[in-house]
């Protein structure tokens, strides 16, 4: 009986203790705050949970060497605030003009402290509902027919306080360090804790595991004081200027490439870390060997009995012993707090560090759970900017617009224009829109034609991966055909091993625009909204299925697509032929 009573009281206590909000956001980093801003603007009931005492706790620690690699351009020669966001990779979106990052730092590559300061201001100036010192340690579901998504999300924090939400926005980022286990990995120091004082490395020989920006940033810091640095990782180095992907190695960090190629002792190697083993000798020096040798050796024998590669191959590359080995292997998503019932699964292949989500940023396993921010990068990993502030600030807005339509009957914002403004509205957007520019290939403007094509409706920055669901996701109708405006690089231009400086790489003639290599606007025309099936069958590397007609606006050196003959005229001809009409202006 006492047991039953106890259970009953517990039940009552817990149900009474649920604090309810329509929207719960986990994490007060850039994407969490960005989501909070839009929710606040729309007057929604929301709360942001932050485990730290201040926003942006990741930036308080990382990058360790404090230099952000997102650009903060002070001058562009233009006053267009939307255009300038194309070259401001740190600001979040808001109407408050004080909250532009250039007011927080003058550095082209700002210090991470400026970001922390900026995020603090963003939360406080906009009076966002952030609950600090609240670490969500468990998330589970409660089935309920009445709930928006057929279930509520139940969140538990470190003090066993429970929260109940209709919609869950996960903005926790990627903060769990990637660790590789191999024999001797106990001798490896992590990026999270390694000293950032170059003096600690004076006269040392260093091996760095990893080939990302954190690895090169670490190397850059100690390049001048070490004997030499070697870097090892499975894949070849990918330079962001060759791949057009900002997550690859940025020029600001690549000092080691110079010293390697100029034979100044530093070097790069390729190899699978899983095959590696590290052996410490009596002097405390670390030797590289292969797991294979360790497995075959006589276990009882001492360290000296371990075969080193150079014993058989006397010019083995990493035969010199190292003083330190540093692991800089990046981060992964924290899957641990989600109950199995949420079915939040890791992605496949090189996306396994990310949770699986749909192109609408909703979890594949749970309706109503959206992943925001850098953890949502699986949608465009190695392609676009969805893993970075200058990309996910727009995808977060897109998610907000999807939610407004789904739960509050607020359709996707749109403007209706007469058809005479068709060319103008496209030219305006491709020249200034920053969401299209940053989230190329992912977010697209949609033009829905009205009957008889006398007017059209303009929707901005819709996630193109869910184009087939447009009517359901936006609350707008597309019965008379549509244009999709998107930005693309040339399909065969970028890549890790491609020469992006070859002669004639730039296309100048409008009639060859489809061969443009650099980022340029592409307009797809569909007589009917593509179906889900057609979206699935689209050619690989194509953001969209085969259109009824396509137009490329030829790439431009200045990214200024306003030339009357090279840019606007061919576009007008394309639009005219799609609509079978004449869009010229005449003098009376």
């Amino acid at each position: 009986l006492s047991l039953a009573l106890y259970a009953g009281s517990l039940c009552a206590a817990s149900s009474a203790a649920f604090l309810y909000h329509d929207y719960c956001v986990i994490g007060a980093g850039p994407s969490g705050l960005q989501a909070a801003y839009f929710l606040q603007q729309a007057g929604r009931d929301y709360v942001v949970f932050e485990r730290s005492h201040a926003p942006g706790s990741f930036f308080a620690l990382y990058p360790r060497h404090r230099k952000l690699i997102s650009i903060n351009k002070q001058y562009t020669g233009k006053s267009n605030s939307e255009f300038n966001l194309r070259h401001d990779w740190n600001s979040l979106l808001s109407r408050d003009r004080r909250l532009l990052f250039r007011h927080y730092s003058h550095d082209f590559f700002p210090n991470a402290d400026a970001m922390v300061h900026y995020l603090e201001d963003f939360a406080s100036l906009l009076k966002l509902q952030v609950q600090y010192n609240t670490a969500i340690i468990h998330v589970t579901l409660e089935r309920d027919e009445q709930a928006w998504n057929g279930h509520y999300f139940l969140l538990t924090d470190q003090d066993r306080q429970n929260y109940k939400c209709s919609s869950l926005l996960v903005a926790t980022g990627m903060w769990v360090p990637n660790v590789v286990n191999f024999p001797g990995s106990e001798y490896v120091e992590g990026y999270e804790t390694v000293s950032i004082n170059p003096e600690d490395f004076a006269g040392q020989t260093v091996l760095i595991l990893g080939r990302g920006n954190s690895a090169f940033e670490t190397a850059e810091n100690i390049l001048g004081v070490t004997n030499f640095i070697h870097m090892v990782s499975r894949s070849r180095v990918r330079l962001s200027w060759a791949t057009h992907y900002v997550g690859d190695l940025r020029a600001i960090n690549n000092g080691l490439l110079d010293t390697y190629q100029l034979k100044s002792l530093d070097g790069l190697l390729e190899g699978d870390l899983e095959d590696l083993a590290i052996v410490k000798d009596k002097k405390g020096k670390l030797h590289i060997t292969l797991r294979f040798y360790l497995e075959n050796r006589n276990t009882s024998a001492g360290i000296d009995s371990i075969t080193l590669p150079q014993d058989e191959l006397d010019n083995f590359a990493t035969r010199a012993p190292y003083d330190r080995v540093i692991r800089c292997l990046g981060w992964k998503f924290d899957f641990s707090i989600y109950n199995r019932s949420l079915r939040l699964m890791p992605g496949k292949g090189n996306k396994k560090k990310y949770p699986q989500i749909k192109p609408s940023y909703e979890s594949r396993g749970t309706r109503g759970l959206f992943i925001l921010g850098t953890a949502s990068h699986s949608v465009d990993f190695r392609k676009s900017a969805g893993g970075f502030i200058h990309g996910f600030r727009y995808t977060t807005r897109a998610v907000h617009r999807l939610l407004e339509n789904r739960h509050h009957g607020v359709p996707w914002p749109s403007t209706v224009y007469p058809i005479t403004q068709l060319t103008n509205s496209i030219i305006k957007r491709v020249n200034e829109a920053s969401g299209l520019y940053q989230m190329f290939g992912v977010l697209a403007d949609i033009i829905l034609l009205r009957e008889n094509a006398t007017a059209f409706e303009y929707l901005e920055e819709y996630p193109v991966g869910v184009l087939a669901e447009l009517e359901m996701q936006t609350g707008r109708k597309a019965p008379n055909g549509l244009f999709v405006i998107i930005m693309e690089y040339g399909r065969n231009f970028s890549g890790a091993d491609k020469d992006v400086f070859y002669y004639n790489r730039a296309v100048g003639e409008a009639q060859h625009a489809w061969q443009s290599n650099f980022l340029h606007p592409v307009i797809y025309y569909y007589k009917h909204l593509p179906t889900e099936h057609e979206m699935k069958l689209r050619p690989p590397d194509w953001p969209l299925p085969r259109p009824d007609a396509i137009h490329h606006i030829v790439e431009d050196f200045l990214t200024d697509w306003t030339a009357p003959n090279a840019h606007i005229l061919p576009l007008r001809r394309f639009l005219e032929n799609c609509l079978s009409t004449d869009l010229r202006n005449f003098f009376a």
Partner: protein, 834 residues
């Protein structure tokens, strides 16, 4: 084969003869009359004969007998004799004895009875010939009733011979006869199959067949190897006559593609002999295989419509363009072979199917060739938007913009508060219409220099998108007049300097203006008050109300706001308003309307109460009774959506005409049409209008009835009549009664795109075939034809490349980027080595 042909030729010539002889009945009696003994003894083995047994006295059989007689000649041609056997009265043998036997005709081969026909089955020559041949050709022509039967036969002949499948709605018809006659000739070559089942026609893949007419399909079974697939079919397009069937079978028998190695002018094939065109696919050694495939593909498409030949350029020395890939030879004597450059196979097919286009395509090609010498492409890249063209031609001229205040995101709101009225032009500096309007705007600024209370400003939305979005500016350009930064009116008129100036001037005065005294009101109607506008020609509308009419006053105030800038409105509602209204013989609420320059004041009683109604009414009242149409005012009159009775005049119209027309306009209820005139000296575009109507400009003055909104008919008032109210009215009556013929009818053609766009989709597919566009290509809108079509275009590529090299003038490179400037090396094909 040759024997058969002879047989056919004879029947063919007979047919012609028969056709001419039928009307002259009984000219030659081929019908033998024999006794039963004579008949049966005359029967030869293997020879067929049709016999009719009769007693002399059977008058009911007379019509039938006539048909039999008429058929005798036709049947004789197939070696069938027709015999009338006269039965002796007492004969009770098998054929003569029985009563019902006498109502039949009997077909014998040798002395073997093959079939007996009831006389009502042989109702005319066609049915006689059809039925007789049908019976005789029992083995050659299979009759089928079910799809299974048809498929069995089809499978049986696959790989061996071709099949001719005919559907006739009924046996004994002319079509049936034609099929049987053809079967008589071709029966040993092709397997003939006949059906009268409409269902079968439907099942053979004809989705919506017209079952009331006969059809013939040639089934190419000889080359069919796959048992599961039906044979390829070629339907005969023409009606089923002996001649057409023969022609069709002959065409089907001709080789699919003829290889030719001589001058096309000298080539002659069966197609040309049969009056069909011959298409030459021009080939080269290098591309022979692809061309052969293209030719075969085209040939299948054109089977029965034209012949296809593969002409090897290497073997024939042709003095033609290298680019030409197709030639067309028509069967007409003396017409030279045409050489064409076509993009894909579809064009070849349309070329043949619509022969009238040949001339046009040819002309286009010639034009292109001329252009080719100067530039690479056609006119696609030449600016054909006159506004854009004018603006870019003028771009180096700097505009005197000092008079116009530049507003920014920071200064916008504060600037609006500083002056009573601020005119703001929202524009985009890259947009052509914006720049053209900016030009007019500077002229307006010049006109209004020194005018108090008006500030002209501009916002470049390309620099300050935030302001434009906030102000909800969705079109470029937009002009708004802001009043103390609160209310604003959007300008919706023409972008001309005068119109804009007048709008700005009129909107300076608050609308409606509240007048305090009768004197002010009178001054207002004379255009003397307010003094700002005294030097300005304008129409004034004065609302007269008594103090209590609040509802009407409010509505008028709202209407005045809406009309601000277009017309000045004033209102008077003092105690002595009645005195004012009495003077103009109206009772309040009423409107007094004083036109600019006009002496009289028009009065309108206000019955409608809503503001929108008032706006509509005032707008309507502002229109002239007999206006001179100008480019500027045309839209206002077009909006009425009524027919125009328009007098075109070279200069001012005569006094007489003017008087008569005015009478006409006033006399008729104004709802019916718009009476107006056009001065060609002031509005020269009228000349162009007349040219559209009449091709040349007719003698003037000219009175027209133009109904643009219904039918687009243009009627011309007879020039010999004088333009008087009476004459015009009676002419209009006749028009209404449909007694006049329109001089021309304006087409309702839409505004089509002036020129095609670059077809990047096709370029991508052609140049990068591995681009897997096709995988998603399941809509089936462009199936098989594309791949042979690609061959055609691929072949053209070498010539395009040479063009590109020639056309790469240094000036063009400037449009690229800096690296391109340095690139003087030969332009390789795109980075394939990557």
């Amino acid at each position: 084969m040759s024997a058969q042909r002879d047989r056919w030729v004879s029947s063919f010539s007979f047919l012609l003869f028969c056709a001419s002889s039928i009307p002259r009945r009984g000219s030659a009696r081929l019908l033998e009359e024999l006794s039963p003994q004579e008949y049966f003894s005359s029967l030869q083995a293997g020879r067929a004969s049709l016999a009719y047994f009769s007693h002399n006295a059977s008058p009911g059989a007379q019509p039938f007998l006539e048909q039999i007689e008429n058929s005798a000649e036709a049947l004789q041609d197939y070696g069938i004799s027709v015999v009338k056997v006269n039965c002796p009265k007492e004969d009770v043998s098998r054929y003569c004895g029985k009563e019902n036997a006498l109502r039949k005709a009997y077909l014998f081969r040798g002395n073997m009875l093959i079939r007996e026909f009831p006389t009502d089955a042989l109702f005319d020559v066609n049915s006689v010939v059809a039925n007789v041949l049908f019976a005789l050709l029992f083995n050659e022509v299979k009759y089928v009733e079910t799809l299974a039967d048809l498929q069995n036969i089809e499978n049986a002949v696959k790989g061996r011979s071709n099949m001719v499948f005919a559907y006739v709605p009924a046996t004994g018809t002319a079509e049936h006869r034609a099929v049987m006659e053809a079967a008589f000739v071709y029966g040993t070559v092709h397997q003939f199959v006949l059906t009268t089942e409409a269902m079968l026609l439907r099942d053979t893949g004809n989705d919506e067949p017209d079952v009331s007419s006969a059809r013939l399909l040639f089934c190419h079974c000889q080359r069919a190897t796959d048992l599961a697939q039906p044979c390829r079919r070629t339907a005969m397009g023409q009606p089923l006559t002996m001649l057409n069937i023969h022609r069709h079978l002959k065409l089907m028998g001709a080789p699919l593609v003829t290889e030719v190695a001589e001058d096309p002018e000298k080539v002659s094939t069966v197609h040309l002999q049969l009056g069909l065109p011959l298409v030459f696919i021009l080939s080269q050694k290098e591309t022979y295989e692809a061309d052969r495939r293209t030719a075969e593909f085209v040939a299948w498409q054109l089977l029965g419509k034209a012949g296809v030949a593969l002409l090897s350029r290497d073997l024939v020395d042709l003095n033609i363009l290298l680019r030409s890939n197709v030639a067309l030879k028509t069967p007409d004597e003396g017409v030279p072979v045409k050489y064409l450059v076509l993009e894909d196979t579809d064009e070849v097919i349309t070329l043949v199917e619509d022969k009238s286009k040949v001339g046009q395509i040819q002309e286009d090609e010639e034009e292109d060739e001329e252009d080719e010498d100067e530039k690479e492409n056609n006119n696609q890249d030449i600016q054909d938007d006159q506004v854009v063209e004018a603006v870019s031609r003028d771009k180096k001229r700097e505009l005197p913009l000092e008079q116009i205040l530049v507003l920014t995101e920071e200064t916008f709101h504060s600037a609006l508060l500083e002056t009573a009225r601020t005119v703001v032009l929202f524009y985009a500096s890259w947009e052509a219409v914006s720049l053209a309007v900016l030009r007019s705007y500077t002229e307006v600024a010049d006109h209004l220099k020194g005018t108090q209370g008006v500030l002209l400003a501009r916002v470049n939305c390309w620099d300050w998108p935030g302001v434009c979005t906030k102000e909800n500016v969705t079109q470029f350009p937009t002009i708004r007049v802001y009043e103390k930064g609160e209310r604003w009116v959007t300008y919706d008129g023409m972008w001309g300097t005068d119109e804009l100036t007048s709008f700005i001037m009129l909107s300076r005065v608050s609308c409606p203006l509240k007048l305090a005294t009768i004197e002010e009101a009178e001054g207002y109607l004379r255009g003397e008050f307010p003094s700002e506008l005294s030097s300005y020609h304008h129409t004034s509308v004065l609302g007269v109300f008594s103090t209590a009419m609040n509802e009407a006053k409010e509505a008028f105030e709202e209407a005045g706001n809406i009309l601000s800038g277009h017309v000045t409105t004033g209102m008077y509602f003092e105690d002595d308003a009645l005195a004012l209204s009495r003077k103009y013989a109206v009772s309040p609420p009423a409107l007094l309307l004083a036109r600019s320059g006009g002496r009289s004041v028009e009065t309108i009683a206000l019955s409608k109460q809503s503001a929108q109604d008032m706006v509509r009414m005032i707008r309507y009242e502002l229109l002239d009774i007999f206006p001179e149409i100008t480019v500027q005012n045309l839209p206002r009159y077009l909006q009425l959506r009524k027919p125009f009775l328009i007098l075109f005049s070279d200069g001012d119209i005569g006094e007489m005409e003017s008087k008569e027309m005015l009478k006409l306009a006033k006399g008729r209820p104004r709802q019916a049409f718009v009476a107006c005139w056009l001065n060609l000296k002031k509005t020269p575009v009228g000349r162009g209008v007349l040219k559209v109507y009449f091709a040349t400009v007719p003698s003037l003055p000219l009175l027209l009835w133009v109904n643009l909104h219904a039918g687009g008919q243009v009627f011309k008032f007879p020039s010999e009549q004088t333009i008087s109210e009476m004459n015009v009215l009676s002419w209009l009556e006749k028009l209404k009664a449909g007694l006049e013929i329109p001089s021309s009818t304006l087409s309702e053609e839409d505004w089509k795109p002036p020129l095609p766009a670059y077809d990047f989709l096709q370029m991508m597919e052609t140049a990068v075939p591995e681009v897997p566009l096709r995988t998603s290509h399941h809509r089936g809108d462009t199936p098989a034809p594309k791949s042979p079509g690609r061959d055609t275009t691929v072949r053209e590529e070498p010539s395009q490349e040479t063009k590109a090299e020639k056309g790469g003038t240094p000036g063009r490179d400037l449009r690229g980027t800096a690296p391109r400037l340095a690139a003087r090396e030969k332009q390789g094909k795109r980075h394939s080595e990557l």
